[in-house]
């Protein structure tokens, strides 16, 4: 069962992605209206957008190298 919080994160993640890259931080900050934890959660996922096309093993093995 999906938690309400996760559904919130999910909705916000997708709606932020619809914005231009430059507009995302401001959009996100406004949408979270002071809920820092929510903002950080969505932001931390968005941080990986660029890497989603990279081989996963780079990350999985990153620590040892």
């Amino acid at each position: 069962v999906k938690s309400e919080r996760w559904q919130q994160v999910e909705r916000l993640y997708h709606s932020t992605l619809e914005k231009e890259v430059g507009e995302r931080p401001a959009f996100l900050a406004e949408a979270c209206s002071g809920d820092e934890e929510l903002r950080r959660e969505v932001e931390s996922l968005l941080d990986y957008e660029d890497q989603a096309e990279e081989p996963l093993a780079k990350l999985a093995n990153g620590v040892a190298s």
């Binding site: 931390s44 990986y48 093993a57 040892a64």
Partner: protein, 192 residues
Amino acid sequence: MQTHSPKEITRLLVAWGDGDQSALEELAPLVHAELHRLAHHYMGRERPGHTLQTSALVNEAYIRLIDWKDVRWQNRAHFFAVSAQLMRRILVDFARDRQYLKRGGGALQVSLAEAAAFTVERGTDFVALDEALTALAEVDPRKGEVVEMRFFGGLSIEEVAEVLKISKETVMRDWRLAKVWLLRELGREAAQ
């Protein structure tokens, strides 16, 4: 060992697609045996830079086991879905057996970019991936299924949509978010 004709296996697949869950219980071990055999055959070769496309492997099992003339594409999607689940277990067990447990042991090169082009190379940390996927399924079971099917079975967006009875758009959104979630999770695991 009892042998099963393609006709019989095909009948089970069609019955399962029509909603008969007991057919799946009969079908799964048969598919597992074939996938296991194929996976070990390919992965046992131990060539450097050896790659294995899981989707190609599942496809080979499909061709060997199923009388394709008697099935619709929806049945094929179901076959690939159950295979994906079985494949995940086979690969993770294989990784554990081969003591690829150690993080960064040069083990599996896995690309999340395109599941259809998913290749297995020596070095991929399947155990870490499996753990991350299990964690994802706890947060969001459906996303766990989407990744499993795309990643371990090479199912297309359309096929996943058919199996899960959701829209293609939903599959695409699930897939997109699931990927970054997994990457973040793997990054955290690696950082520990």
